[in-house]
C-alpha cells in the first residue's frame, strides 16, 4: 500500500478538487488520485468559465440545487482565496419575435429556481448597456447574477486548500480497479495500491469506466459532447461587458458570446457528440461559422484578430440529469455525468457529497481555523504580478507573465505537473502571439522540470 486515506477522491477535475477540499476541511484524511500529470486534464480543461445562477436549470433537480449552492459557496469563499469573480450579468437576447415569445416561460422557470431578479429589457435598454451589439436585436432578458470566473485558478485553489489542510494529491495515478472488504477499500492504481474507507468517483469523462473497472458495470454511459470556441484578441474586450446568451432551443443552450476574466471576448461552445473522450480537436468550418455568428451579434468583431481556438468535452451521458450513484453498502459514491454546469456546481456537489458520506455513517472532526491558500491573480481587471517590482523579466509579453510567476507555479503545495498546467496557472503562451516571442525562454525555464517539454533535444550542426 502506497497510501491510506479516510476518503479517496478519484479524478482531479473541478468536481474532484472541490470534493477533496470539502472533505479535508471536514477533517477527513483525503487523497486525490489523478491519472494525469496535473489537475484539469479532462472536461474541466476547457469551458465557458461562467458562474451560473441556475436561472435556466431544470426545475427541482439535483443539478439546479447544486448550481445554486455552488454559486452561493463561490461567493462566500472567493475573496479569502483571492479568486476573481466579475458579476457581468447576462443578456438573454431575442433576435426574432419567435424567440421573444419564449421569455415568459424562461421567467417562470427562473422564478421557480429562486432566481427572481430577471428583468425585461427593451431594445433601447439593451443597446444602452451594450452599444456594440448588432441592431437586429429585438429585446432581451437581463440576468444580473451571471458572473465570469477564472476556471483554472478556482479548482486549483480548492485542491491547494485540501492539500494544505492535511490532504494529498497523487498524480499519474490511474485507478484501474478496487476491492472492498471489511469496510475498507483497496484501490489499484498505476502507482500502487491505495487504501480508503470511502471513495468518491469524480472521474468525469471516465466516470463510467472507473465504475465498470471496480463493479463490473456502470449504470450510465458517457457520451462525450464537444464544444468548440474562438477567442478574440483583447482589443475586442472593450466591445462587450456582459454575457450574451441565446434563447435556448429544445436541443441546446446555444452559442454564447462572452467576456473572459482575462480580458478576451469568446464565442462558443458548440455541442457535438463524438466518440473520443480526450480528443478535443477544433474544426476550421465550425470555427468559421462561430466567427460569423459572433460578427452578426457583435459587428465590431469583424476583422478582429483571433487569439486562440479550443474545444472542451462535456461528460454528458445518455440522459440529461447528473448521474449520482450512492453505494451505501460499500461506501462508494459516484458523481457522474456532471455535464455542462460543473464549474459552478462543484462546490455544491462537494457539500452534498459530504452529506451523503454522513449518511453512509462517516464521521470526522472538522479542521479548526483551516489554512486558506491565496491565489496569484490572473484577471485582467485586477493588478497582475508584473505591477509589483522585483521580478527579473517578463517572459510572456502578450499575457504579461513574469519569471517570478512561472517559478512560483512550479513550486508550492500543488505545483504544475506539465506545460498545460503551467499555462493554466500563469497564462504563459496563451496570448495573441501563441509563443512566437516567449517559447524559447519558456523551454529553457521549464527544461527537465515538468512531465513534458517544449523541446525534444539540443540543436546541432
Amino acid at each position: 500500500m502506497i497510501a491510506q486515506a479516510d476518503v479517496v477522491v478519484i479524478g482531479g477535475g473541478v468536481v474532484g478538487c472541490a470534493v477533496a477540499r470539502k472533505m479535508a476541511l471536514e477533517g477527513a484524511k483525503v487523497i486525490l488520485l489523478e491519472k494525469g500529470a496535473d489537475i484539469l486534464e479532462g472536461a474541466s480543461k476547457g469551458n465557458s468559465a461562467i458562474l451560473h445562477t441556475g436561472f435556466d436549470a431544470p426545475v427541482d433537480t439535483l443539478e439546479q440545487e447544486c448550481v445554486a449552492l455552488g454559486y452561493a459557496k463561490y461567493h462566500a469563499i472567493h475573496k479569502d482565496m483571492h479568486l476573481p469573480v466579475k458579476k457581468t450579468g447576462a443578456i438573454l437576447a431575442a433576435w426574432s419575435e419567435e424567440e421573444e415569445a419564449k421569455f415568459t416561460g424562461i421567467l417562470e422557470k427562473a422564478n421557480l429556481n429562486g432566481v427572481k431578479d430577471l428583468r425585461m429589457l427593451s431594445r433601447k435598454e439593451v443597446l444602452n448597456i451594450e452599444p456594440a451589439l448588432g441592431n437586429s436585436l429585438v429585446s432581451a432578458l437581463l440576468v444580473p447574477g451571471e458572473s465570469i470566473i477564472d476556471p483554472w485558478s478556482s479548482p486549483l485553489a480548492y485542491l491547494k486548500q485540501a492539500v494544505e489542510n492535511g490532504g494529498q494529491a497523487i498524480f499519474n495515478a490511474q485507478v484501474t480497479g478496487g476491492e472492498f472488504a471489511n469496510g475498507e477499500w483497496v484501490l489499484q492504481t498505476s502507482q500502487g495500491k491505495v487504501g480508503a474507507r470511502y471513495v468518491v468517483n469524480c472521474a468525469g469523462l471516465y466516470g463510467d469506466i472507473v465504475d465498470a473497472a471496480v463493479f463490473g458495470e456502470a449504470d450510465f454511459t458517457i457520451k462525450p459532447r464537444k464544444g468548440q470556441f474562438v477567442v478574440f484578441d483583447k482589443s475586442a474586450g472593450s466591445l462587450l461587458t456582459t454575457i450574451i446568451l441565446p434563447v435556448p432551443t429544445e436541443r441546446t443552450k446555444g452559442i454564447v458570446l462572452f467576456p473572459t476574466i482575462f480580458g478576451n471576448v469568446v464565442v462558443g461552445p458548440t455541442a457535438e457528440e463524438q466518440e473520443s473522450r480526450n480528443k478535443a480537436f477544433v474544426d476550421r468550418d465550425v470555427l468559421q461559422s462561430l466567427i460569423k455568428q459572433a460578427e452578426y451579434k457583435l459587428p465590431g468583431l469583424s476583422g478582429m484578430p483571433v487569439t486562440s481556438t479550443f474545444a472542451g468535452i462535456r461528460p454528458a451521458t445518455e440522459k440529461s440529469p447528473y448521474r449520482i450513484r450512492k453505494r451505501a453498502e460499500c461506501n462508494w459514491l459516484t458523481l457522474g455525468g456532471i455535464r455542462s454546469t460543473g464549474l459552478t456546481a462543484a462546490l455544491g456537489l462537494a457539500e452534498k457529497s459530504f452529506e451523503w458520506l454522513l449518511e453512509f455513517g462517516a464521521s470526522f472532526k472538522a479542521v479548526q481555523a483551516p489554512i486558506i491558500p491565496v491565489m496569484p491573480n490572473l484577471a485582467e481587471h485586477l493588478p497582475r504580478d508584473y505591477t509589483k517590482p522585483g521580478y527579473d523579466e517578463i517572459v510572456c509579453h502578450c499575457e504579461m507573465v513574469t519569471d517570478r510567476e512561472i517559478k512560483e507555479a512550479m513550486s508550492g503545495s500543488v505545483p504544475a505537473g506539465n506545460l498545460g498546467g503551467l499555462k493554466r496557472r500563469t497564462r504563459v503562451t496563451m496570448g495573441r502571439c501563441q509563443g512566437f516571442y516567449c517559447s524559447a525562454r519558456l523551454a529553457e525555464l521549464t527544461k527537465g522540470k515538468l512531465e513534458d517539454s517544449l523541446e525534444v533535444g539540443v540543436a546541432h550542426d
Partner: protein
Amino acid sequence: MTKDVLDMTCDVAIVGGGPAGLGAAVALKQAGVANVTVLDRESEPGGVPRHCGHPPFGIVEFKRICSGPVYARRLVQKAREEGVKILSRTTVLALHPGGELSIASPQGQGTVTASKVVLATGVRETPRAARLVSGGRMHGICTTGALQSMVYLKNLIPFRKPVIIGSEIVSFSALLTCRRAGIKPVAMLEENASPSVVWPVKYAAALLGVRLQCECQLLSIYGNERVEGVQIRDRFGVVRDLECDGVLFTGAFTPEASLVRMSHLQSNKTSGSPVIDETGHCSDSAYLAAGNLLSPANVAMKCWADGRRIARSICSEIAA
C-alpha cells in the same frame, strides 16, 4: 521604502529596439536631438535579427555581411556610442494622447513623457490558432520566430521532422535554421500553385532534400501529447496523412500592433497598423511609426532606413 515609480521625460521616446527603432535613434542623435530613449521589453535589445542566426545582414548599415545576432549587437553598440539611452526589460503598456507612455519594468511602473514617440514594434508570424487550422493542440507546433529563438538563442529544438507550412522568404530562413539545427523537414506545403518566393525556397528545399508541394492544403493536425502527423489535400485532390512530429508555420506576417489597437490612435482594422500620413505621423501627431510595424515584412536594412527617414521627419519638424 523605495518609490516604485519610474517617471521620466525625453525628447523622443522610441518603442522597440529593433533595426527600425535603433536606426531612428541613431539618426536622431546624429542630428543633435538631446535625449533619445529606446524602450524595449526584451532582456536584450536588437529585435528580430537577434535570433536570425544566418547572414546576410548589415550590408548597407555596416558595409559588411554579418549574421543577425552580430548585426543586432552592432546596432545596439552603435546606438549606445551615439548616446542613445536604451532601457531593456521595459514594456510599454499603453499609449496616451500627446506622447505619454505607461511603462512597466522590474524596477516598477511609470510614465514616460516625450515630445515625440516613434512606434517600432515590428512584426511576427500568424500562429496556428489565428489561421483556424483544424485538429488538436499538441506540442511541436510553432512559428519560425519561435524555432529560431529556440535554436539560435537556447540551442534547443522543438521537433526533428516537421512539415513546413508556407514558402515565403522567411520559410527559406526556416529551412536554413532547420539545417543548422539538424532538423529534417519532411515536406514543405504551399497552398498556391507556386512558391511565394521562387528561387531561394526551391534552392534551399533542394539543398535539404525537402519536397516542396504546391497547391497542397493542410487540413488538420493530429497526435496525442505531440504532433504525430498532418492530414493534407494534395494537388490532385487526394486527402492523405503525412507523418511528422511538428508543424512549422512560416510567414503570414502580422504587425505587432496591439499597443496601437488598444490606443486612441487610428489603426487599420485588419492589420492593426497605425494609420500614418506621408511624413510618418499617426492620427495623434505626437506619434510616428517606422519599420515592419507598418509594412510586413521588409528586410532589416529597409526597416533601419525607414527608421532614419522617420528621424529626418522629426528633425525637420523641430527645425520648422
